[in-house]
Structure formats: structure tokens, C-alpha cells
């Protein structure tokens, strides 16, 4: 939800399977420390300023921890946010398989295929227990039209980059022409191509869906 006045406020929603480290990633970004055990200063809504491409943005981050089974309440969160970060753990194959269902839920609720989504794989510091390779994550993200990055909330690896990239994606979705100051004829063709690509992706998604089922 954008503010009526300030266009630099961006609402982000962090989603994922239970226990993948959503809260840890968020707190690492907000407070610059890893939550080894419970911290009394935890809050459910977090707000932080960040500098992305010479512009200051105020990030309003929602953490969906504990919302694993509450699909209806989660829909409200989805409607109130502009950007989404889907988190899975590289040490858990099942959390990786859930990414598609989260994306489908987002698309169904917002009734749009063009949603700014960032997909991240957490816990890369536990490389000995890795069950999902980087290439698998990258392929799925490309197939579903999402950006991909691997992070470690413990070591603060790529945590800043994740949120910066998410802001870029959201801004790119909102104002595509501002980033491409070209002719109208040139701008129309990419739009048509992107729609075709999205349709192909949807067919692929359905195929993968049936294959998974």
C-alpha cells in the first residue's frame, strides 16, 4: 500500500514456509544482528530507510511468521503489500517446493501475473546440510519470472542486496517508462513480448504443477 503523499514508502511482505528464517533475515536487515535466541525487542512491523540508486526509500516490512496455515489472513497481508520476498531454506527441500504455492497464492489474490517477487534461499552458511543447489533455485526463479539470490542471515551475506534489489524490482514494475526513456514504438514491442513470455511461463508452471502433482 503506497502512501497518498510520499511515493518512497514501499510495503514489502516476507513469506515462506515455517522455520526457514524469515524473521532472522528481517531482523538482520533492520537491526544488523542475528537472532540466536529470542530477543525481547522483536516487533511484527519493521520500518527502515535505505538508499537505493541515489534515492531514499522507507521500507515497511511485514513478517508473516506463524501464518503457515492461515491462508485467509495471509491474503490480507498480500493485498496490503507491493513487493514480496519468498524465502526458502537451502537445507530443506520441502520449503523449496512450497515456493510455487506461495507465488500462486500471490498471483491469485492480486489477480495479476506481473507481481514484483524476489526469491531467496537462506541458511547458506549450513552448506554441509544443503539439499537445494544454487542452480535449482536459479532455474525455478527464471521459470516463474522472479529474481533469485542466496543469503545467510547469520553471516549477513547478501542481506542488504536482497532488499535493495527488491526495491529496484518494485520501482521497475511501477514505472517501466521512467527506466526506459525511448520511443513509443520501441516501448510497445517489449510489452507485447513480455506478455507472451508470461503466457509461456504460465504454461510451463502448469506443466511443472502437473508433474509435481
Amino acid at each position: 500500500m503506497t502512501s497518498y503523499k510520499n511515493n518512497n514508502v514501499i510495503s514489502l511482505c516476507i513469506m515462506g514456509d515455517g522455520g526457514v528464517g524469515k524473521t532472522a533475515v528481517t531482523i538482520q536487515f533492520i537491526s544488523n544482528h542475528f537472532v540466536y535466541y529470542y530477543d525481547p525487542t522483536i516487533e511484527d512491523s519493521y520500518r527502515k530507510q535505505c538508499l537505493v540508486d541515489d534515492q531514499v526509500y522507507m521500507l515497511d516490512i511485514l513478517d508473516t511468521a506463524g501464518q503457515d496455515e492461515l491462508t485467509a489472513m495471509r491474503d490480507q497481508w498480500i493485498r496490503s503489500c507491493e513487493g514480496f520476498i519468498l524465502v526458502y531454506s537451502v537445507t530443506s527441500r520441502s520449503s523449496f517446493d512450497q515456493i510455487q504455492f506461495f507465488r500462486e497464492q500471490i498471483i491469485r489474490v492480486l489477480d495479476s501475473d506481473d507481481v514484483p517477487i524476489m526469491m531467496i534461499g537462506n541458511k547458506i552458511d549450513l552448506d554441509d546440510e544443503r539439499q537445494v543447489t544454487f542452480q535449482e533455485g536459479k532455474d525455478l526463479a527464471r521459470c516463474l519470472g522472479m529474481s533469485f539470490m542466496e543469503v545467510s542471515a547469520k553471516n549477513r551475506t547478501n542481506v542488504e542486496e536482497v532488499f535493495n534489489e527488491t526495491v529496484r524490482i518494485v520501482k521497475r514494475k511501477e514505472d517501466p517508462q521512467s527506466h526506459k526513456p525511448s520511443k513509443d514504438s520501441d516501448s510497445k514491442k517489449p510489452l507485447v513480448n513480455t506478455s507472451k513470455i508470461i503466457k509461456k511461463i504460465n504454461t510451463r508452471v502448469k506443466q511443472t504443477k502437473t508433474s509435481i502433482c
Partner: protein, 667 residues
């Protein structure tokens, strides 16, 4: 006398011996006369002469045989006492002949004399032997030759067995010389015996001395040996002592080592106990920390609830004049819902949690609080169901109402709000409910199973979960209802009547074709009806409405024909059983209603009913059929599955309704 001069030494020696013998014989002779009768002896001797000779010959022969073996010649006699020539009367011819007589020790020998040159030498073996100690001498006066004739008679213990011979001498002196030797001989013999005894004693002494000396030598040898190996003996003793000392030392060392090991074991045990106690303390520490987090998050949550009341709700309500009023009462309740009620609920809960933590101890329980006092959390339902409407209304008001926008700007600048937007505050109640489950779950993890709070926390988690799922379900119901209402508004009905009830649910919608050549139409699948519409100029015209209670579907392209109808009971039972098998085999859920809901929720699942073709038929009645065409086979399969599931669910509801009617009639 010549004879005496020739062998002076020998004769002298013999005289001595003979003298002593003669004296002895005379003495014995006189003793016998005094004690025995003279006549008897003479008579006996005369009568037994012949017998005596025979016996004598036997004895002589025996003795001579024995002696002749030893002495074959006169030269063998080495130490004669006396020797000479005497006249002896022969035994058988009765002639007096010269014989050479020799006395050696206690034996009398007589030899034959060489004839010829008067050499007077003995020749050959002795002709006779007499043991003088056993002989007796008698003087015979009857002989014609001379008065000096005496008889030598050897006695063998008996009167019968004896031998004798008659010997005569030339003169009495010679006679005395010969027979005085007898006592001398006896004396010498006795002396000899004594000497023998002495020698034996000496030899015995020597033997004893020899033995003693041997013993002494052996003793000395032993002593020498003992002395020789004294060093080794001392060494052995030393070694023994060393071994003894070593054994003592080893025993001591083992005892010390055992003591050390025991100390190490005790250290390790104490270490384990410390670790165990540390784990227990850490668990208790984590438990207290999580409880504190529950308190602090509840405190901040209640603070935020009160903040919204103070900054937004109360100022909006308390505007005095109508002109200054920013929002109406309905608008305020539309945006904030039952916010004040939530504040009261959670402030009461905060008081209880605070009371628990003020009296915190190891045995304190907190799960019972959530079991008994969380029924009021059900009142979150109207707020959650109103949230979507609230969000939309807020967007509308901020875009349209200038006074409200200014009011929000002023409120956002307040430092108490921590620069959070109102939307961030409005979403907090929705975030708070599932947070309780997370906190209680972590608290349960830090509580040991022996703790009495473990049971309470388990029940508390179940209860919180029930509340959140109830709220979630209510939200879902609300969404469905709004969706149906929205569809109802969009539809345009000319001739056909379409009615919706509050229980109507939208299951699926999408594009279809009624025939291959015609244009695309649109179809809605509700839980009780199937609606086909036609789109013209952004308008939706209801073309046909089909009630699912009398509907059947058939897929001609599949290998096995599946027909589901409700008209005839038999067909319905058979086909429904087949379809139930298909459903149960694919969805693998025994409960049909739950499987239906699962299928509706996860509409991506597809039944394996013919992957060829993109159409199936709707059987409205025995005469009327409609073929439906779809874009892709997958879409066709999805539609078929949803319709089949919906039909089966209607059938189960119908059966349950009939059962309930039967129960009512019975009651």
C-alpha cells in the same frame, strides 16, 4: 747230633716249640689217667684198631685231598717249627720205616724220604697229616723195639672216628724235644687269636676313622661349597629382598594410581553433573526469557492499541462542531472496527501475564492462563473480517477527504507513533494472533516434560490454534460471500430466474464453448448450480442455468465410460460407486466430504479421466445433452473433476438429510 748241627737255627726253634708241646701232652696224659680208668682205655683201643684204621683212612683221604690240593711239595712249607726223621710203624706191613716229620704251626706232616745217597730230603706230597690240637698222645710199653713208643690219636668228638699212628724215637731227649712244643704251639695259637682280634679291632677302628674322615671331608667339601657359593647365596637373598621391595613398591604405586584414577573419575562425574545442572539452568533461563518476551511483546502491543485510540479514534470522535468533524461515526467504525474492544481484551490479558511474571519461579505455570482466559480472543473475528473493507475505505478516504489527509499527517508526526503508518498499526491485530502460537510453542520446547506447565502449554497451543483457525475460516466465508455478491451484481438476467442463497459458494469459473464453431462463452460453477453466460459489449447475459441436483456428466473420450446421474436409483448407485472408487483411489481419502473440500482447496489436482480430447457432455435429461469444449485437456480435466466432486458432495448431503429426517421421525 749231626742233624742238629746242620740246622742249628731250625732245631733251636723246633726244640722250643717241641718242649712246650711235650709238656702240654704230658700234662694232659696225667690228667686223663687220674680221671679215667687206665684199663678201660687200653681195652677199647685194642678192640677197635681195625675200625679205627678204616675210618682213619677215610678221614685221611679227605684231609689229604684237601691239603694236597694246597701243598704239593715240601717246598711249599715255609715256616716249619720243627722237622726231622722219625721211625713210623706201617699200617698194613707192620714194619718200622724212616719218615721225615715236619711241624708247622698246629699241623704235623710226614713225608717219604729219598733212598739212595742218605740225603734225608722229603719227597712228594705228605703221606699223613695230623691236627695236633685235636690229637692225644699215649705212651705204649708193649712194643719190642724200644720203650719209647707212643701213639698219636686224633679225636673228632666221638670215640669211634679217629686215626692214629705209632711213632718211635732213638732217645728220650729227642722225644722230649719233639713233644714239648705242644703247649708252645697252643700258646702261639692263642697269641695269634688275640692278635687277630686286635687286628680286627684295629681294622674296625680304621674303618671308623675312615668313615669319620670321609664324613669330615664331605663336611669340609660342603663347607667349602657353602663358602664358595656364599656370594651367590647373598646375591639370591639380595634379589629376594629386592623383589620383595619391588612388590611393595608396585603395590604402593598401584594404590596411588588407583587413587589418581578414582580422583579423575570423580572429576569427570562432577563435570557431568555440572553439565547436567548447566543444561537444566540454561533451559530454565530460556524458559524465563521467552516468558519475558511474551510479556514485553504483549506490553508493546497493548501500548500500540492504546496509541491508536489516543491519536486517531478519540480525536476523531471528540470533534465538537459538525463543521470540524473529519469522519462520520460509520466511517470511523468502518476503518477501525471493534478496536476498543480488542484493547480491553488484551489489556486484561496483559494484567494476567504481568501477574504471572511478577511471581515468577521455577515451578510457575503460564499455559493454564491461555487455557482459561483466551476465549475472549474469538472477538478478533469481526476485526479480521472487516480488515479488507477497512483497507479499501482508508484508501478511499485518504484520496478524497482533504481534512482526513491533514489529520493523518499531523498524527504521523507524533513521536509516539515511531513513524509507522496507520496501515502498519491496523494490521497488527492480525499479526498478533498467530504470534501467540509461536511463543507458546517455543516456551513448550524450553519446558521439560516433567514440569507441570508442559501439559498446560500443550493444551494452550491447541486452544490458540483453534481460535486462529476459526478466525481464518470466518475470513474465508466472508470472502466467498463477497465474491458471490459481486458476481450476482454483474450478471444480467432477462427471462431466466437466478437465485443465490447465503450458502452459495463459487468453486470454479472459466471460458468454455458450447460447440466447436461458436464463440467462447463463460461458465460459473457454484456449489449448487452451473451457470453459462454470454459476453456482449462488456455485459454478461445469463444464457442457461443448470441445477446440479439433476445433472450428469459423461466423458466419451476416456477408455472407461463414467456416467453419473441422479434420475434412476440403480444407475446412480452403480455409477456413484464407480466414481467413489475413482475418487478414493486418486485422492486417497476415506472421508468424502473432507476429500471434497480438499479437492476444492487444491483445485490443481486432476483426476486421471482420459487425457485425450478437450470436451465432455452434460446430461440434463434423458433427451437433452450439452457438449462443453475447453481450451486445453488439462482444463477439461480440472472442470470435470470439480463438477464430479460437487455432485458427489450434494449426494452425500442428501443422504445425510434423509438420515436426519428418519431419526426425527423415529424420535
Amino acid at each position: 747230633m749231626i742233624f742238629l748241627f746242620k740246622t742249628s737255627n731250625k732245631y733251636f726253634y723246633l726244640l722250643g716249640v717241641g718242649g712246650s708241646c711235650f709238656l702240654g701232652f704230658v700234662f694232659l696224659y696225667f690228667l686223663k689217667k687220674s680221671y679215667n680208668n687206665k684199663n678201660n682205655k687200653f681195652i677199647e683201643s685194642d678192640n677197635n684198631n681195625k675200625n679205627n684204621f678204616e675210618k682213619e683212612e677215610k678221614e685221611m683221604s679227605q684231609q689229604l685231598i684237601e691239603i694236597r690240593k694246597k701243598i704239593n711239595d715240601y717246598s711249599k712249607l715255609k715256616y716249619p717249627t720243627k722237622q726231622g726223621i722219625l721211625f713210623k710203624k706201617s699200617r698194613y706191613l707192620k714194619e718200622w720205616r724212616n719218615r721225615f716229620f715236619v711241624i708247622e704251626e698246629d699241623i704235623l706232616y710226614y713225608f717219604d724220604i729219598e733212598k739212595g745217597n742218605n740225603s734225608n730230603k722229603p719227597i712228594g706230597t705228605p703221606l699223613g697229616i695230623f691236627n695236633l690240637l685235636n690229637c692225644s698222645f699215649t705212651l705204649i710199653t708193649n712194643e719190642k723195639r724200644s720203650p719209647l713208643v707212643f701213639k698219636i690219636q686224633e679225636e673228632n668228638g666221638t670215640n669211634k672216628d679217629y686215626k692214629n699212628c705209632l711213632i718211635s724215637c732213638e732217645s728220650a731227649e729227642e722225644f722230649n724235644q719233639w713233644f714239648q712244643l705242644l703247649p708252645q704251639i697252643k700258646q702261639t695259637m692263642d697269641r695269634k687269636k688275640d692278635l687277630v682280634i686286635k687286628l680286627q679291632a684295629l681294622s674296625r677302628k680304621k674303618l671308623q676313622q675312615k668313615k669319620y674322615q670321609q664324613l669330615k671331608e664331605s663336611a669340609l667339601t660342603i663347607q667349602r661349597f657353602y663358602h664358595l657359593y656364599e656370594g651367590e647365596r647373598k646375591l639370591a637373598r639380595f634379589i629376594f629382598n629386592v623383589i620383595k621391595v619391588q612388590s611393595y613398591a608396585r603395590c604402593f604405586i598401584d594404590r596411588m594410581r588407583y587413587k589418581k584414577i578414582k580422583e579423575e573419575i570423580m572429576v569427570i562425574q562432577s563435570h557431568f553433573q555440572v553439565i547436567k545442572a548447566k543444561n537444566r539452568l540454561e533451559k530454565e533461563f530460556m524458559r524465563r526469557r521467552i516468558a519475558q518476551e511474551l510479556l514485553s511483546t504483549e506490553k508493546s502491543y497493548v501500548y500500540n492499541l492504546k496509541l491508536i485510540i489516543d491519536i486517531f479514534i478519540r480525536p476523531l470522535i471528540n470533534f465538537n462542531s459538525i463543521e470540524q468533524r473529519v469522519l462520520s461515526v460509520s466511517e470511523i467504525s468502518g476503518v477501525f472496527g471493534n478496536w476498543e474492544r480488542l484493547y480491553k481484551i488484551n489489556s486484561d490479558l496483559l494484567v494476567l501475564i504481568q501477574c504471572k511474571l511478577d511471581n515468577w519461579s521455577i515451578d510457575q505455570t503460564i499455559g493454564d492462563l491461555f487455557i482459561e482466559n483466551t476465549d475472549s480472543l474469538f472477538e478478533y473475528t469481526p476485526y479480521v473480517t472487516n480488515y479488507d473493507h477497512s483497507r479499501k475505505l482508508l484508501a478511499k478516504l485518504t484520496s478524497g477527504n482533504t481534512n482526513f489527509r491533514n489529520f493523518l499527517d499531523a498524527a504521523q508526526r507524533d513521536k509516539r507513533s515511531k513513524y509507522l503508518d496507520i496501515s502498519s498499526f491496523l494490521i497488527q491485530p492480525i499479526q498478533r494472533l498467530p504470534r501467540y502460537e509461536l511463543l507458546l510453542r517455543d516456551l513448550l520446547k524450553s519446558t521439560s516434560t516433567l514440569h507441570k506447565d508442559h501439559k498446560y502449554l500443550s493444551k494452550g497451543i491447541v486452544k490458540i490454534k483453534e481460535i486462529t483457525m476459526y478466525v481464518n475460516d470466518q475470513q474465508k466465508e466472508r470472502e466467498n460471500l463477497s465474491q458471490v455478491i459481486q458476481i450476482q451484481k454483474e450478471l444480467i438476467m432477462d427471462n431466466i430466474k437466478l437465485s443465490f442463497s447465503s450458502a452459495t459458494r463459487l468453486i470454479r469459473e472459466g471460458e468454455i464453448k458450447v460447440s466447436k464453431k461458436k464463440t467462447w462463452n463463460y461458465m460459473y460453477l457454484f456449489n449448487s448450480q452451473l451457470v453459462i453466460i454470454q459476453k456482449k459489449d462488456d455485459k454478461k447475459l445469463v444464457k442457461e442455468v443448470i441445477q446440479l441436483e439433476q445433472l450428469g456428466i459423461r466423458d466419451d473420450n476416456s477408455s472407461s465410460s463414467n456416467t453419473i446421474t441422479n434420475d434412476s436409483g440403480t444407475d446412480l448407485l452403480n455409477n456413484s460407486s464407480n466414481n467413489l472408487l475413482l475418487l478414493s483411489s486418486t485422492i486417497s481419502s476415506p472421508d468424502l466430504s473432507s476429500s471434497g473440500t480438499n479437492a476444492i482447496n487444491t483445485s490443481s489436482q486432476a483426476l486421471p479421466i482420459g487425457t485425450i480430447g478437450n470436451k465432455f457432455k452434460l446430461i440434463i435429461s434423458s433427451k437433452t445433452e450439452i457438449s462443453l469444449y475447453f481450451d486445453t485437456p488439462e482444463e477439461k480435466n480440472n472442470w470435470f473433476a470439480d463438477i464430479a466432486i460437487t455432485l458427489n458432495r450434494l449426494e452425500t448431503q442428501k443422504k445425510n438429510f434423509e438420515k436426519s429426517i428418519n431419526l426425527q421421525t423415529i424420535n
